[in-house]
């Protein structure tokens, strides 16, 4: 389930963020406890807890004492904004660099994009 080659707690955080973005996890919905998550994915609960803590710090989740962890009400919007900001630097620019490496000019790309519209 998890890639052994990068920190799992980050993979957990990314996984939950994706679920929030896709709508699989709704705002103010309760998420699994760290123990349930650990048991389900067969990982150490401390690793799961670290991933959840990361999400709390980033404001994606919040904790209701004695009850559990919930998705923040504005999480989806917040994540979308973050991803938007990073989209061009992390997705588009590397794509352009690769295109440059193999000799595709921007005009070809624009034509391709025109087809997708």
């Amino acid at each position: 389930m998890f890639d052994d080659r990068s920190p799992i707690y980050l993979q957990i955080a990314d996984g939950i963020k994706n679920d929030v973005l896709s709508g699989a996890l709704k705002e103010d919905e309760q998420v699994m406890s760290t123990n349930q998550y650990a048991a389900f994915y067969r990982i150490n609960p401390a690793t799961a807890a670290k991933g959840f803590a990361q999400l709390v710090e980033e404001g994606v989740l919040y904790k209701k004492r004695g009850i559990g962890m919930f998705v923040s009400p504005d999480a989806r919007e917040k994540l979308r904004r973050e991803r938007r900001e990073r989209f061009f630097t992390e997705v588009v620019d590397p794509m352009l660099a690769e295109a440059g490496r193999i000799g595709i000019d921007v005009g070809e790309i624009v034509r391709h994009l025109g087809g997708a519209r």
């Binding site: 990068s6 920190p7 799992i8 707690y9 048991a39 067969r42 150490n44 401390a46």
Partner: protein, 293 residues
């Protein structure tokens, strides 16, 4: 807290564990990795008071562990060869553990024997290697000892039995948190269960870190030999391979996003290094090199 201070274990003139100092906060699952002959079992023997260190001390919650009744009663050390007399029946092993172990759960033991398909009426000498491993696992888990040590116990078990063991281990740890130390060669299978990893090499402590710290600690840089050499200059090299004009160098280094971009611009590719590969590189006989080119 479990403290090892300057622990040295000797067999005659051979030093198996060389002056190891280590702090192990309780309640975590630890993975102990090391090559054969690295001193893992000797270290665990000292930890469990099966062997007195030649020098140094093992303390559990501040008290010297050796010959300490309170500590030993709460420590369960299961070795790779089952500690049982040939004539003992499995049922008797469970029974005796029930007499002596304060936290013993007989129902859980019975359930586990069933899970691993062990006939309690069989004598220890009549068990196959895999069955002996399973009995060891049952003794270790059902003891619910606050310090439970499993030394390559499960290596004799087949893949299906091992998967069942990992599942049981995690479920029981979640229900009854305690300190668990697993020593293993099957790193990739079980690394997800470890909160921390300890690596021993040639009797010395090599590292003691959170598992996630090790994931992504190393990187393999591959490309044209000259470009690779320029890029990796000055970094700690764990291993390298060359074929024709292509070189692949494994580094003990965590590149930033800029480093990766810069490297890719130079035509290099980056590959991640998993914990098992990192372990292999860290403990291989070849000398660790400083790239000086």
């Amino acid at each position: 807290m479990i403290e090892l201070r300057g622990v040295t274990v000797r067999y005659g003139t051979t030093v198996a564990v060389d002056d190891i100092t280590l702090d192990l906060p309780t309640g975590k699952i630890y993975g102990l990795l090391g090559r054969n002959g690295s001193g893992k079992t000797s270290l665990l023997s000292a930890l469990a008071s099966y062997r007195r260190p030649a020098s140094g001390v093992v303390r559990v919650d501040g008290a010297d562990a050796f010959e300490n009744a309170a500590v030993m009663r709460n420590t369960c050390f299961i070795r790779d060869t089952l500690d049982a007399n040939d004539s003992d029946k499995v049922r008797q092993l469970m029974c005796f553990a029930g007499w002596m172990r304060p936290g013993w759960d007989a129902d859980y033991a019975a359930k586990l024997l069933d899970l691993f398909e062990i006939n309690p009426a069989k004598r220890a000498s009549a068990l196959s290697r895999g069955q002996k491993s399973a009995v060891g696992v049952v003794l270790g888990l059902a003891s619910r000892a606050p310090l439970t040590i499993l030394d390559e116990t499960y290596l004799g078990m087949d893949a299906v039995a091992r998967a069942a063991f990992y599942r049981e281990l995690l479920d029981d740890y979640l229900a009854h948190p305690r300190t668990i130390i697993l020593s293993t060669h099957l790193i990739e299978e079980v690394a997800d269960l470890f909160e921390r990893v300890i690596i021993i090499d040639r009797g010395r402590l090599l590292l003691h870190e959170e598992t996630d710290e090790l994931r992504g600690r190393g990187v393999t840089v591959t490309g044209a030999a000259a470009a690779v050499d320029t890029f990796v200059a000055g970094r700690t090299v764990l291993g390298e391979q060359s074929l024709g004009g292509v070189r692949a160098v494994t580094l003990d280094w965590r590149p930033s996003a800029e480093d990766v971009t810069r490297g890719e611009a130079a035509g290099l590719t980056f590959g991640p290094v998993g914990i098992q590969d990192l372990f292999i590189h860290l403990t291989s006989p070849a000398q660790r090199l400083e790239a000086t080119r």
